[in-house]
Symmetry: C2
Subunit: 220 residues, 2 copies
């Protein structure tokens, strides 16, 4: 059990997540320090806002020398709870589900898959990345025997609400939704929709702005 | 060819992309209208900021009646260029690459895959979701014969820079990077990193805030 903390506004969390992703890239390039101003430039945010966001994680930069990238990463990870271990189950072992099961979430984001479920028997009773895949019918039994913090919905949109209902019924508090369905859940549960189109939006808008030739009107 | 437009700040584009995702969900639930205040509440942004963002797309809401969801979606899609057709190629037909090839990007985001490439011969000369997969060596020949707007990098981090170099050499202006590598590219190219951990960050932070029990320290 960990102590409760003050509710951080969603936009702050989103920005901190962006900084974290950038910092991982800088670390890979063996860069050790960065100023909040340089960081702000890279993400196109206001430097004052970046400093405020970082302060919320408890980070205090030194004038002129800036921040140590390792310390920044650690502070953001602590803020997100990524140094903890969230036990997760995944529903829907199709292409996307399989990709998610193979992703190294545990290293950076504290997510540990303990099982996956699918309604197609042909996909069950196998291991994907050493994670067992069971039939969806087995979930209530599994849930009774395991502590589950996060349920990931990677089924088609039409089946998503049914999976969400199942997760709620079993008392799972956090749902990460990769389907396009808008899930209806009670207020005590947190549903977050995985939106990976933000970066596509920036990319396509930049292409529109730069007058790229040959962009046709969609025929369909 | 489309006319150039004023450069929109990245944070505005990111927020508009969030609104768009929400609006798709509301439309699925047959909701027709929403006020900017209600929208702001759903995304936890300041209503004034939401109204400013929407104005940038040319949208003007009517007092009291709010916005028509169809019109909002259309305005955001036009702003992003999603009513156009971006020809895209994808590198790396593993789990994630295959999932991306099967995703209906064309319907909502104007992305049309014309080919995929992989350096593993065993994955080549097949169709994935009707998209041909060729060997990476064939890319320069293919590129000479086709207009390509966006290159998607879905290879492992260690191979990502090589793919980016190849895309840049062939004059592709837009790169959507799904690897964890930080890609070095010339200034005339736009690289966007696909970050789908923003929503995970909100989810884990909310669980931390709500004192969920049983969150252990990572053993590894």
């Amino acid at each position: 059990m960990i102590s409760g903390k003050i509710k951080a506004p969603a936009p702050v969390i989103r920005r901190l997540s962006n900084y974290h992703h950038l910092l991982m890239g800088l670390r890979q390039r063996q860069i050790q320090r960065i100023s909040s101003t340089a960081l702000a430039e890279m993400v196109e945010y206001n430097p004052v806002q970046v400093r405020k966001d970082l302060q919320l994680t408890g980070l205090i930069g030194k004038p002129k020398t800036g921040f140590l990238i390792d310390e920044m990463e650690d502070a953001i990870r602590r803020f997100m709870g990524w140094e903890l271990e969230f036990q997760a189950v995944l529903f829907g072992v199709g292409n996307l589900g399989s990709a998610l099961l193979r992703y190294p979430w545990r290293e950076e984001h504290g997510l540990r898959f303990i099982a996956a479920f699918d309604s197609d028997s042909a996909r069950c009773n196998i291991l994907v990345n050493n994670i067992p895949v069971y039939h969806t019918e087995y979930f209530p039994t599994f849930s009774a025997e395991h502590e589950i913090h996060i349920g990931i919905v990677a089924v088609p949109a039409g089946a998503a609400q049914k999976v969400a209902d199942l997760l709620i019924k079993e008392g799972i508090k956090g749902i990460w939704n990769f389907s396009h369905a808008h899930l209806k859940t009670p207020a005590h549960a947190t549903v977050e929709n995985a939106v990976f189109t933000q970066s596509l939006a920036i990319l396509t808008r930049r292409l529109v702005e730069s007058q790229v030739t040959g962009l046709g009107k969609e025929s369909s």
